[in-house]
């Protein structure tokens, strides 16, 4: 049996929740004050995922870097791979918010998009 301690981020109370797992199946959840805590823990244990944000080099832009994010959440275990891919590329100005920077980042099926407009430098 596996035991995990998680802090719920649903509200400032930040309940410490204990989950017991058997063969990857949740058998008990204790410590949550409300239903949201249970939902959070279920998601965190079975499919933890995050939005990843970072920056990418811009060529010929008014500023040297453009901020980017994954369009949707990606599995937690893929975060570093997504970031690594971003390090290998640079893009040309102009960049518009929402422009796709990388398609299917780290084989997650999720694209990485720009979160800032960058004009061409004069």
């Amino acid at each position: 049996m596996e035991e995990r301690k998680l802090t719920c981020i649903g509200c400032p109370l930040g309940c410490e929740i204990e989950v017991k797992l058997k063969e990857k199946q949740i058998i008990s959840i204790i410590g949550n004050t409300c239903k949201r805590g249970e939902l959070y823990v279920r998601e965190e244990v079975t499919n933890p995922s995050r939005i990843v944000t970072s920056t990418v080099k811009v060529e010929n832009g008014k500023i040297p870097m453009v901020s980017v994010k994954t369009q949707n959440t990606v599995p937690k275990g893929k975060i570093f791979e997504c970031i690594k891919e971003l390090k290998t590329i640079s893009i040309k100005a102009p960049v518009k918010i929402g422009d796709i920077i990388i398609e299917n980042s780290a084989n997650t099926g999720i694209s990485i998009i720009a979160t800032k407009n960058v004009e061409v430098s004069e």
Binding site: C11, P12, G14, T53, S54, T55, K57, I63, P64, S67
Partner: protein, 424 residues
């Protein structure tokens, strides 16, 4: 001297929302002055997501949130000056600014909205013994280096202070390949949001040491390490608890303070707790026609509330100008004082002028510590009129209550409103 109806100092989220609101309330001669090369303020370097849940019901990154307001200001054809620094403001609302194109210029404003944001507390205030080697940065400065300039200040990092910027930077530096060894916090609780502790520290197994502080900085030219000690209940380091951590970078995330030099110089009364101006229900300072909003007024953790507060300042500035036009002076009428007691550190606003008040007024405040299962109570003189149960309150999360004008009018003798925490 060129004249404007509203001059807004600072083009961050507060300045942008204030400008848009003044314009929508019928004012045309508006000028935003921003010292940076772009609008958006501190949000430009906050590339993480989590902004705008209250306002747009989606999670935006800082630059995206800022852009929504920048677009609006452009659409409303509000004039702004970039790379322009305001160096002085007088009581009679003469604003002196400086830039490389025009040099030093004076303009006359009918109203001024202060929206200069805040700055980080500096290391000088910290009193850590040892040399002052290179490699020590405020967390916000490091954020700017990494996210805007694209360069890493170091590889082996210790962070002092668990405010949100420190937590966000712990994750950011880790993603960029640095090793963040520890985040140390003097208080027995973190000043940061729970979400940031989980997603910025726990996700990457970065330890958070509460009730700890740095007692020594090692290294002469460049920092080589620090000594961390546990502190007792009074916050004094305890002998025998010292631990050494090697590092080439120390980030300080020890708090923010309103950018108050211009305000102070022009004779604005500052609050001793917030370090921002004392304001009334209209967010107007002790100088008539000078308003303040956003982090220059009191430090916010959620930008949504900055935008909300700033719209109100913009609207009130517009109202002030309309009154000037019809020649009505802002006579004071009845003043009700707000007092904070028992676990409440301050309130914004500090006074309410009943005649000037809208149908409702939002009172924002912060608590002094972490309290579980308590009540936020509001007293009209001696009578308790609001008794709101809270499962938890913490200094890191700004609280608010809403007061109704109708209710205030039910108490014709009312002279003081007290807000306090009460136990169950």
């Amino acid at each position: 001297m060129r004249e404007y109806d509203v001059v807004i100092i600072g083009g961050g989220p507060a300045g942008l929302a204030a400008a848009a609101s003044a314009k929508k309330n019928g004012i045309d001669q508006i000028l935003i002055i921003e010292r940076d090369h772009e609008l958006g303020g501190i949000l430009n370097q906050c590339i993480h997501n989590g902004f705008g849940l209250h306002t747009f019901h989606e999670e935006l990154t800082g630059p995206e949130y800022a852009n929504r307001f920048i677009d609006e200001v452009k659409k409303l054809k509000i004039t702004y000056k970039l790379n322009t620094m305001v160096v002085n403001i007088t009581k009679s609302k003469v604003v002196t600014y400086m830039n490389s194109l025009e040099g030093m210029i004076e303009i006359q404003a009918k109203t001024i909205i202060l929206a200069m944001g805040c700055r980080e507390r500096s290391r000088g205030a910290l009193n850590i013994p040892g040399y002052r080697p290179a490699g020590i940065f405020s967390a916000g400065t490091a954020q700017r280096f990494v996210n805007i300039e694209g360069y890493m200040p170091g590889r082996e990092v210790v962070i002092l202070g668990s405010g949100d910027i420190g937590l966000i930077m712990a994750r950011r530096m880790t993603l960029e390949g640095a090793k963040v060894k520890v985040v140390a916090e003097l208080m027995p609780y973190s000043g940061g949001l729970k979400r940031n502790i989980v997603q910025c520290l726990n996700d990457f197994n970065i330890p958070l040491k509460l009730s700890h502080t740095i007692t020594k900085i090692h290294g002469k030219d460049r920092i080589t390490g620090i000594t961390l000690s546990k502190v007792d209940q009074k916050g004094s380091p305890m002998k025998g608890t010292e631990e050494y951590y090697s590092c080439d970078t120390l980030l300080l995330s020890v708090g923010l303070i309103p950018e108050n030099e211009l305000s102070d110089n022009m004779g604005i009364e500052l609050d001793t707790v917030t370090s921002g101006p004392n304001v009334n229900e209209s967010l107007e300072t002790n100088i008539e026609g000078v308003f303040a909003c956003g982090n220059v007024l009191h430090v916010h953790d959620l930008v949504d509330f900055v935008s909300e507060e700033a719209s109100l300042a913009g609207k009130n500035a517009a109202r002030f100008i309309k009154k000037l036009k019809v020649g009505k002076n802002n006579d004071l009428g009845k003043i009700i004082e707000l007092k904070s007691e028992n676990g409440i550190r301050y309130t914004v606003p500090g006074i309410i002028r009943l005649d000037q008040m809208d149908d409702t007024v939002v009172i924002r405040f912060r608590v002094a510590g972490v309290y579980k299962n308590c009540y936020i109570s509001v007293y009209f003189d001696k009578e308790r009129v609001i008794h709101k149960k809270k499962t938890v309150v913490a200094p890191g999360e700004m609280e608010s209550i809403l007061l109704d004008k109708a209710k205030l009018n039910d108490y014709p003798q009312l002279s003081q409103i007290t807000i306090k925490l009460e136990e169950v």
